[in-house]
Every structure is written in C-alpha cells, then in structure tokens.
Amino acid sequence: MSQTAIAQADWGGGASPFGVTWQKMMMWFFIVTDALLFAGLLVSYGVVRIATGDWPTQSEVFSLTYIATMTFVLITSSATMACGVKAAELGRPARAAQFVWLTILGGFIFLGMQAYEWSVFIHEGGGITGNPWGSPTFSQFFFIITGFHGFHVLTGVTVLLVVAIRAAMGRYSPAGVENAGLYWHFVDLVWVFVFALFYLV
C-alpha cells in the first residue's frame, strides 16, 4: 500500500477492534501459552516412549473404567460451568452461583479420585525412580503429567471459589465468570488429551 493510501484509510480505532475486552483476550493468550506447556510435556512423553522399548500396557496398570469415570466427572463439570456462564450472561447471579458451586464440586470429586488413583499406583509399587511394569520413565511421566494437570485443576477450583465467594458478596461480573469459565474449559480439554495420549494410546 502506498503511503497516501495508508494515510487515507480511516479506521475508527477505539477500545476493542476484535470485539472482546482485553481481559478476555489476555485469558485466551494465556491459555495458548499454558497449552504449549502441556504440549511440551506430552511431546517429551511421546519422544521418550518411542525411544523406550518396554512401555507397559496401560490397561494392565490402570482401571480404565475408573479413569473414564474421572473424565466423565470433569466433562460434566464443564457442562455445569457453561450453564453458569450462560446464567451470568442472562443476568441471573443466584442461578450462576449455583452452577459455579456445582462445578467446584465436580472439580473436588475429580481431585479426590485422582488422589485415590495416585495412592493405588504408589501402593502397587509405582515410584518416582522406578516401577514394576517396565521403563522407569513410565511412572515418572505419570506423576509429572497427571500431577501438573491436577495442579491446574486445583488452581481452577481456587479461581472458581473466588468467583463464587465474590458472587455471594454481591461483587459479581458476568465477564469474570466467563473468564474463569474459559480457564476451566481449557483445563478439562487438556485432560481429554492426557486421557487419550497417556491412558488410551
């Protein structure tokens, strides 16, 4: 474009060329960054697993029904979160708060199930330096990937608790619920990748 054309074109400017607030955009970019962090871990897992011969068969180590139940709980919490965001958008704070509490409950159930899964895994001999099923990196990646994800769930639950408590105090904004919801959906989506790549493949 010639410089006169650049000078003539007249964009209105203003606060939000993409039609979203900067808070929401920042959450999106943060999610991209965080997703790449998980991508780094999952790719590392893939590289090491391919380089290692004796990778255990997951269905012999884990109860896949149990893991699928965990997945179901987390996906359900995503659904209640979506209902909460919609209720907030429609201007019904009490209803939104109810759904956020339900989501928090789902998060806690997931964390509890994960804690039990870890205790069984450790009880059966899975340790940070080795395990009875095959390559030591198997249990190492188990701890670091599910642990890192569990840490994210815990963070998400904390954020949702803040949102719920603020809503109870009347300091409530639909945009805040939506941003927290975005993060929660992201955490759930990551779990789908962890479930597929670590437990199923």
Binding site: P17, P136, Q140
Partner: protein
Amino acid sequence: MEHEKQGFVSKYVFSYDHKMIGKQYFTLAMSMGFIGGILAVLIRLQLGFPSKPWPFLENLFPVGMASGIMTPEFYVSLFTMHGTIMVFFLLSLLPVSGFGNFLIPLQIGARDMAFPFLNMLSFWTVVPGAIIIIISFFVEGGAAASGWTAYPPLSAIRSAIPGSDLGQTLWLVGMIFFVASFTMGGLNFVVTILNLRTKGLRMMRMPLTTWAQFVVGILGLLSFPALAAGALLLTFDRSLGTSFFLPAGIFIGDTLMPHEGGTPLLWQHLFWFLGHPEVYIIMLPAMGFTSDILATFCRRPIFGYRSMVYAIGAIGTLSFLVWGHHMFVSGMSPFLGSLFVVTTLAIAIPSAVKAFNWLFTIARARIQFTSASLFGLGVVSLFVTGGLTGIFLGTNATDIQLHDTYFVVGHFHFIMAGAGLFGAFGAVYYWYPKMFGRMLSERLGKIHFWITFVAYYAVFFPMHYLGVSGMMRRIYDPNVYEYLQPLQPVNLFITISAFVLFAGQLIFIYNYFASMRTGAPATANPWNAAGLEWSAPAHPGHGNWEGEIPPAHRWPYDYSEPGKKRDFTPQWEA
C-alpha cells in the same frame, strides 16, 4: 506542587507507570550487562594470557582464582553465566521488557499498558531471578557450568562437575523466575497493542518498533513454554532422581548412575525450540529501532513498510521451524537435517528484505550523523556480517566442520548479540529525551560509537579465523594443542580489543547517568520525528498526555514529502 501525591515507594519502587517500569528494567538490565561484561573480560583474560597469575583477583574469587590462576571449573562457570546473563538478562530485558514497556503505550497512543499491575508484578518477578543468578557465583561449587544451553547430563546429575550442584539448581530457579516474568510481559504487550490503540491507528500504521514488539510478544508466549516444560523435567531429574534426560549407563567417576530410559536429545529439542525464537526475540526489536531511527535521520519514509511488516511476521513464523540447525552434529537423520537446512536458509529471504529496505532508505539520503543514527547504521553492518557467516552454519555440510568452534562464537556475537546491543544503544540515544527530558551528550555518544564499533569488529571478526583453524568454542587453554599454539597472538589481540570494548562502555554508562542531571533540557520533539510518541511532553507524567490522546492520522514515516514546507508531517496532524 499540584502533582498527584505519590510517595517514593509508589513512584520509584512499586510503580504502575509503564515508563517507570521500563526505566527500572533499564537499570536492572544495564547492571546485569555490566556484570556480564566483567565475566567476558575474565574469559578473555584467560584466553589472552593462559594460566597467568593475577593475584589481586584472588580476593574476589578465592576458589575460582586460587593464588590468582583461573581454574578450569571457574572458566566453565564464567562462559556459562556470561551467556545466560547476556542473552536473558541484558539482551532480552533491555530491548524487549525495557523499551517495550517504555515505548508501546507512547507509540500507540495509550495511557498505560493494559494491565499495569501485572506489569509491575512482572518486573518484581524478574528481580529475584537476577539476584539468584548472581548469588550462584558465591555458593559451594560455584555457578552453573553446563553452558548457557544447560545440556544434560552435565546439568542433570548433581555430582557431574562442581557447578552441577547448587549452582545449576539456582540457575534453574532463576530461569523459572525469568520465564514467569517474560510470560506476564508478553501477555501485556500483545493485548495492549491489539486493544488499546488510539483512534485512527490501524495495525498497518504502527511504527515498526511496535510491530517488532508485537511479534516478539507472540514469540515469547509460544516458545518459552517449551523451556518451562524442559526446566520442570530437568528439576525432577536433579532433585527427585527421575531419568527424563538420562539414559542408562552414565558413569560419573567410577560410579554407575542408576538412571535409565531417558534421552539427553530431548532437552536439546526442547531448549532449542525456545532457543531459536529467543534469538529473534533479541533481534526483532533491534530491527524495529533501526527502522525508526534510520527513517528519522535519513529524513526519508522507511522503504517498503509493508514488506518490512511481512518480513517481521515471516521471520517470526520461520523461527519456530529451524531449531534443528543447532543440532546437526547430534546424530539426527541426514534427511531431517536437510529439512532444517531448507527452513534455515529460507529465513535469509525476509532477513535480506529487511537489509535491502534499510539500504534503500539510506541510499542517496542526506543522513544526519547523530549517535543514534550511527548505531542504527552499525546494526545494518553487523547484521549483514553476521548474516553471511550464518549461511555457513545453517548448511549442515559446512556446519559439521565448524560446529562448536570459534566461528560460531564470532557468528552469533555479530548477528544476535552485536546487532541486538547496537540496536538497544541506538534506541537509548534516540529516545533518551523522552525518558528523562534531557539530551545525552552527542560528543560522548559519538566517541562511544566509534570505540564500540571498531573494537567490536576487532574482537569478533578474527574469531572466524580461529574457528576455521580449529579452535574449539569452550576451550579453557588452547595452547594444550600444538596446532593451536600459533594462534596465540590472535587471541592476545582479541583480548586487548575486548578490554577496549569494555572500557568504551564505561563512557556510555557515565553519559547515561550524568546526563540525567546535567544534559541539555530536551524539547518534546528534539529530532523532528513523526512518530506519535513525540507528541507527548518532553518528560511525560503518568498518563502520558495531559489533554486528550492525539489520534493517528497517518503512518509514522512521513518525511520529506514533496510540496510541503516542513520536511516531516507528524503522525498526529491531519
């Protein structure tokens, strides 16, 4: 005094003002750069005068310089920390965090960054990182000693070498602080540039500096997670005995390590997936500064603005596809290596677009030779020199010969370190009036430029010959090899030039701090520049503009338009 009441702490320490945060980054980065420079001088001291005793240095480093003679372990720590400090804490912090914070709101017409609190937090997150990095010199075993790339197993096994112990742990902790800070900064940069532009400032009217900072923000957000993931795994390997990066059969001394199942190549991939974009995180702002500076002092519109923007985007995109060229000798499949050669050489195209656009901007212009424009021209010179040597290293056939020799050291000190540093110097000379409301001494600035420019070539150009002659990159004493002994005069020459280079920077530091009080008072637009930032008062307060934010009516490069009385039309004039 009718000013908004602000205590010392809220104004100078925990400030929310993007300009003060930018200046805080300057102070931190310059201090770290000074320390990094001292480390470089110590490295050259050993290479110029191998194993000569310097008794006075024993007081400072009683272990590393016992009886004044540098130990090999200390030498290894020196180049590790020199690289880490310079790459992350000077060349990333000064142009990106420093100038990004200072310039973005001024150049796009915003009162502040999108999230001022996060901005303040990002600075105070990197400070502990910097302190931890410095402290690591004084702990048991000394600072990290596995190179700035921290390759396992040296970095993963605590008992490998003295620096692998506490020093390496502190290195990792410091880097985690740095990554956290840089991520917060990147989020702020990208969102601010997208959402807070003033009326009329379309993306294609932004100054190239802001374009560069925008792409740098995205590069940081996409590349640092890989390092963070690697650092997490490495921390586990070090502290909990996992084997992510450690295969079976590693002996330390006579002890067989219990690790098995991992691969050290994984770290190299994760590291260079960050490491190569990091090079452009350093380079792109310097390219942006150079474009703005050259346009102003050549009184010419920047040549090929649109192609410059596309080149920045292309360089940013390609930077994610070339990391393997750092690993040609790692045993990768030759087929994969060839792919990386193709993507690497493809980067030469947008890079050449930029170099030629600068040349066409300069060509037949009546250049005003200020300190800023001299450093801008210096960037073009260093960029071309470093770019040409990059072709040898980006091609695997020649790289296998030149890998890990001084050729590499010469190359990246030109293209990344040198061009990045000269760009930052040019930017300081150019925007100083806006930072402190005073002018830097032009006389000292020109002396600083010529010493730096000549000494820079004197230090790093001969390194290419050393490399071709076979001198390896991280060697403690080249004279242990008979065939390297004839090169000692060259090493001595480089060492003396390095001392001159370091001394030249003291002029700059003096100029920077003395001019804050004694410099000539600056007007709001001392260079008659057209960019939006020059519409703000000479020393803008928090909020930048006293009245309304000026709208952008045009791009920032309207210089020497035919038929106009003035030779420039400011961006904020209709």
